[in-house]
Structure formats: C-alpha cells, structure tokens
Amino acid sequence: MQLLWQILVNGVLLGGLYALMALGLVLVWGVLNIVNLAHGALIMLGAYACYYLFTGLGWDPFAALPVAMVLLFCLGYLIQRYVLNLVIRAPMFNTLLITFGLEVVITYLAQMIFSADFRTVNPSYAGANFAFLGATVPLVRLLAFGVALGLTFALWLFLERTRIGRAIRATAQNLIAARLYGVNPRHLYALTFGLGAALAGAAGTLYGVVSQINPYIGSALTGKSFAIAIIGGLDKSIYVLAGGLFLGIVEALTALYIGPTYTDVVSFGILVLVLIVRPTGLLGRTA
C-alpha cells in the first residue's frame, strides 16, 4: 500500500512534466494545424540551453528556464516565419514531412555541436527529498511539477485574457476572424509556433534536471507528447494536463505491476486504442 502510494506520487509528479511537454505540441497543432515532428528536438534544445547556462555560467536551472524559453521562442518564431509559413496551406502530410526534415537537421546539428555524450543537470539540491504523507518526494521533481503546472495555467491565462492570446485562438477557428484583431497572420503564426517552442524549451529544462539528456532524445519525446495529446484531447490546456497526469500515473503503475519494460507498450497501446475508439481524446468533445 505504501509502495502504491509512492508510485502514484511519482506518477503525478512525472505527469505534470509530461503535460508541459505535450502543451507546446497541442498549441501548434490546434491553432496552426501543424503536426510538429520536431517538437521533441525542441525539447532537447531547451534541455541543452539549460545545461550550458548551468555548467557554463553557474545559473540555477530554474533561473535558466526563462532564458531557455526566450531562446527557443526566437528559434521557433524564425522557423515558422521563414520556413513553415511557406507550406502551411499545403496538405497536412507535407507539414509532417517538413517537420521531420527539421527534426533531422536539429538533432544532427546538436550532435555535432554538443557531442553525443549523456549529460545531466545536477544542482546542489538535487538529492534533497522530503516526506509527503509517507511518500518520498524529491525536491527537484516537486519544483518541476510546480513549474509545469504554473506554466500550464499561465498559458491558459494568456490565451483567455490577453488580446494576442485571443487572436491566436481565433486563428484556430478562422484566419479571417483573426485578421479582425489587426495582427498580420504571418506574424501571428510565427508567434504561435514560437510560443509552442518556448513551452518545449521549458519542458526541456525541467527534463534535463530530472533525467539524462543527449541529442537523440527528441524522437522518443515527440512520441510521448503525441500520446499525451491524443489521449487527453486537443481542445483545451486542461485536457492536456489531464492526459499528462493520466499517462504519468499509468506508466508508474505499469512499471510496478507489469514491469518497467512494458511502459511503452502500455502508453502507445492506449494511444492506439484511444484513436480507434475515441479519436477526440478521453476528454475531448465528441465528434
């Protein structure tokens, strides 16, 4: 029972991070109808940004997070503005291919520049734990969870309450409606993708603190983000959060009761099942 509780706590903490990972993907997918296969690679870049700020400048990873977000935002903006905007009205299949191409470029550039070695970000408090109702909660994981939740909420606020945020949401419905907000569509699209990249960067920073990184983690993370996005549902940030938490808990339970090598079977198996039975996601509105 004790063990189950610990597993659940682990799952929830992990789930928060998962949700943040998927958030950027869902934003770009929902608004721009772009299925970004390079999403995981952007997460990877965020992790490396944090790593170099930590080891090079001695910054605390949580302080480095906003910087990583800004860097990734700029990169995302440029990618959308000068590359993806050129193909955005093509069949969606084309965006799948082009983002794959970007993923390859980013991954191998990273390999060239950062080398293939595994890295971790180990702040001084990395080993600190505290007890929560009988479960051990590592401080970094709790902080990561907190930041993830905070950013999810911040995104929701941004999309609901700010003018630009509402313009972005309007774009998802109708480009003409978006123009009514007086924003140039090319700029608006680029902003959205930049925002998605920034979220990926944040997720990457947190990921680098709780796990090892190397240039190749991109594709696995993209896959995981997909699973979360589909399972939770693409309509609202809160669905993504639910999807992330669900997957985090399911993976933790699978590792405990079936075996750690089966987590992928379960994650992707649920993904396929959800697609077959309820493509709008467990929470999404019925088609």
Binding site: V105, Y108, F268
Partner: protein, 316 residues
C-alpha cells in the same frame, strides 16, 4: 514514351542490374542491396499511401515481422529461409487484417498517428518476448556472399513494381484511387471501401515483410530496434513522395537517388550527411511537394516558375 518501350527499357535495366554482383565492388553491392530494399519499401508504401491515400507511418511493423519471422523460424526451429519468409508474410498479413480493420477507419493524420503508435507498441512488445530474444535479439546463420541477397532484393523490387504496375491499370487499382480521391463518393458508387483498403494494406505488408526477411538474413543479426526501425517509415515515405507517390517508377527513382545522396555524403562526415539530408527534405517539401515526377512533367512548360508557383499556392 510508349508503354511497350518502357517495358523493354525496364527489362534491360533489370538485366543490367542483375549483373552488378559480378563486376561491382563490395561496397557497391552492399549499397545496391540497401537501395533495392529501400526501393521495395517505398513501393510498398506507395500502395497504401500513394494509391489508396492512407499515409501509413507503421510499415516498419511489417518489415520487422518479416525479419522476426525469418529469424525465429531459422534460429528457434531450424527451418529453412523460404519457410521463414512465408511465416513473416503470414504474420504481416494477419496484422494487416486484424489491426487494419479498426485503424483504416481513421482519416488522414489520425491514421498516420495510429500506425506510428502501432509501430512503437510492436517494438515494445517484441522486446519482451522470450522467443524473439527480447532486447538482445537473435543471430541468424551466416551465408557467405552478397550476390545471393542482391539478386533476391532485385527480384523482390521487380515483383513489387510489377504489382504496382498492375494496380495502376486494373479494376482493383481503380477502386484504390477512387478511395483516395473521394472515399464517400466511392462507397456510394459501389466500392466496398473496407475490403479494398485492407487488401491494399495487406499487399503492402507482404512486400515489406519479405524485404524485412531478406534484410535480416543478410545482416545476420536482429534486435527490436533495428528490425522495427521507426525511421525507416519516414525514409520510405520521403522516397516515395519525392519520387512521385501514385506512380509506378517514382518510388524506385526516389529511393535510388536519395540512397545515393545519403551514401555519398556518409563517406564524409556522418552528421553532415544527415544534416544535408534533412535540408534536402525541407527544401523538397517547399519547392517540389508533389515529387520529382510531377516536377519533370511540369518543368517543361513552367520552367523555374514551377518552384515559385508551389510556394505561392501553399504559403500563408
């Protein structure tokens, strides 16, 4: 070019290729085997993605089932290679029918994601199977000489291309194309879309499985990651699409050209080669989204404006 002329040229090309193992260097022969297998995979994708319009991101499953069919048959049961291939094909067919049924009901990118999900699940499942050697994999009996594998791979490519050629001029193929162009209209006009989609999926699975079997036997080693290599999916799609999806020779052309480019660059820095490959993909999607075949066809009257037109049509 008349059809009969194409046939003669094709036959000559095949005959010429068949002689390569006797005068080519070892490196050329190895490159050839890889390229031929990739070309077959591109053709197999062509059937479900190009002709039927269902972009599968999970053909690596069939490839892996073929590989493991051969490996398990030969290593665990001592059966000969052809039996192994038959088993791999049977597995692929069963998979196509059982899982095709629910998954082919999905449209467009949902179908793509579902097949990608299936591909990932298969890797994970096979990594846990004792009979498949779990994560460690299996080692197959060694056969000396690449010539055999070259000829096998070539024969497979020829058969798969002939199958695609038959599709392009048969009632069966017409049904697939109708499904691609407008599935609802096809259904109302008497096409049993479910059966045709599954048959197309199974046919593509068969070719991918045999390719996987040949590959496994050739490299004599198999593990879940390499057998069900997910990146193969995107490679075969890119080769088929850039060569020209929905054409007979497009995927073959696309495979050979892209494999050659890859090989030439890999001789230099590997990362640089991959980066270049990625840039080529991005550029091709921007400038030549409908593939090389379409480019060739339209370049005659549009010239360089072809590229401009593509961007103008698809940009924001």
């Amino acid at each position: 070019m008349k059809f009969s002329t194409k046939c003669v040229l094709g036959g000559l090309a095949v005959a010429l290729l068949a002689t390569v193992p006797w005068w080519g260097s070892a490196v050329l022969v190895q490159f050839g085997i890889n390229a031929l297998i990739l070309a077959t995979l591109a053709q197999s994708w062509n059937i479900i993605g190009g002709y039927t319009g269902y972009p599968s991101f999970g053909n690596s499953v069939f490839y892996g089932l073929g590989g493991y069919g051969v490996a398990i048959a030969m290593v665990q049961y001592g059966l000969p290679f052809p039996v192994g291939v038959a088993i791999g094909v049977a597995l692929a067919g069963a998979f196509a029918i059982l899982l095709g049924l629910p998954v082919l009901r999905l449209r467009g990118h949902y179908f793509a994601i579902a097949t990608l999900g299936l591909a990932e699940v298969m890797i994970a499942i096979v990594s846990n199977l004792e009979i498949a050697g779990r994560n460690v994999g299996l080692i197959l009996p060694l056969v000396k000489g690449d010539a055999l594998f070259f000829e096998l791979a070539l024969a497979l490519l020829v058969v798969s291309t002939l199958a695609v050629a038959w599709i392009s001029r048969s009632r069966f193929g017409f049904a697939l194309i109708a499904i691609r162009e407008n599935e609802q209209a096809a259904a109302v006009m008497g096409v049993n879309t479910t059966v045709y989609k599954i048959l197309a999926f199974a046919l593509c699975g068969v070719f991918a499985a045999v390719a996987g079997g040949i590959h496994a036997y050739w490299i004599t080693y198999l593990d879940p990651g390499s057998a069900f290599d997910v990146t193969l999916n995107i490679k075969m799609i890119i080769m088929a699409v850039f060569g020209g999806a929905g054409t007979i020779f497009g995927p073959v052309l696309g495979a050979f050209v892209l494999a050659a480019i890859s090989e030439i660059l890999a001789a230099k820095v590997t990362s640089l080669a991959s980066i270049f490959f990625g840039i080529v993909i991005v550029a091709a999607v921007v400038f030549m989204p409908r593939g090389f075949a379409d480019f060739v066809r339209q370049f005659r009257h549009l010239g360089w404006r072809y590229f401009q037109e593509n961007i103008r049509t698809y940009r924001v």
